[in-house]
Amino acid sequence: MNIDGQFQLPALRQKVWNKLNDVDVLRDFIPGCESLDQKDETHFEAVIRAKIGPINAKFVSQIELQEMNEPQSYTLSVRSKGGAAGMGEGLASVELNEEDTDTLLHYSVELKVKGKLAQIGSRLINNTVVKLSNQFFESFAAQFENPGKKV
């Protein structure tokens, strides 16, 4: 299942793009991110604690920015290992379109889990994707003044 959404951000596209590539910004807005280290221009390693109700598991995640098309689009690939709990693989595609002086941020998120999480967590996996992507993009958008969520 793909989760889609968009935000209208009152900022120029380049500014939004820069923030989307700023390690400090990402660290702040990736849900449950406990640490984020930049390995090179497009690779990061993060420790993410996923707390979804009864589940509380720590994931060591390799994040890669793929299909970079500055300042218009990229895909954020996250591969997480949560030890015995299993693995998560997420892809977030982000596209930025100019609308006058605003930027329209469109995102599409897909999450797959593997191992034990897949075996027992599938009832709520889509719900989790919605929750995590909302958390990320809503808090990302909130740093701009008066962002508007578009349905």
């Binding site: 299942m1 034990k116 889509n126 919605v130």
Partner: protein, 284 residues
Amino acid sequence: MKPRSFSFTTAHSVEHVIGLLQEHGDEAKIIAGGQSLVPTLNMRLSAPQLLIDISALDELRGISLDGDRLRIGALTRHVELQSNKLIAQHLPLIASAINHVAHVAIRNRGTIGGNLSLADPASELPACSLALGAELSIVGNKGKRIVKAGDYFKDLYETDLQANEILVAISFPLATTNTVHGFREFVRRRGDFASCGLVMNGERQDGKLTSLAPVFFAISNTPVLASKCAAKLLNKTLNDDLIEEALLELDRELPVIGDIHTSTEMKLHLAKHYLREILGEINV
């Protein structure tokens, strides 16, 4: 499947619980009935370092009338809700919903406080709380606060309850002679988690609905009150056309999230069907 090691302590007062929560932060978990917590411990999906057993706190027990509301202590077990005369008399919606919660051995242990603290999106009682306009009494280090159910459910397994707080009681307004209610849920086997459910509570006067709270559960990250749909149905004589028109609102206002068993489309289909059915039932 054995849990990771943890410590276990029996709380002797609510203050004691708050103190322990303050001290241990995220690493502490409250255990009441344990019917949701222990499976996740067994499967090692969570591994708190400390379990705080609150089952000895008699102050969290009891079902009692409190003015025009019914107060239910957080430690009240599902089985008590099922057999309590005050519930049967004053909260018919809960009385009918509670029969659908899991199986007897689970109802014998599971508590309303635990249920609402976890807030599983497929669970019946959170939806009932929302439909009935419940108020949740929460105690933290700064004292007690009351949260309306409408402000309580935030997101998937996320409520207004903070890490260092404990839910102590839930209070519900009493049903009146005008109260109408309905309960439906889609389960493939009795006692399973629902894949789509509806609890509805409202008031009817002179054949018209004067208030209406249809709350859908197991369709999204939280129970959802379909207020726009309800608004279309208020103070009018119900007929099929009106109902169908109101149902169209559900397409717009229900943030349905499908799962591997039940697609988004099917959940929406069921949601409409159940509302249609309940409205038909109360309109008879």
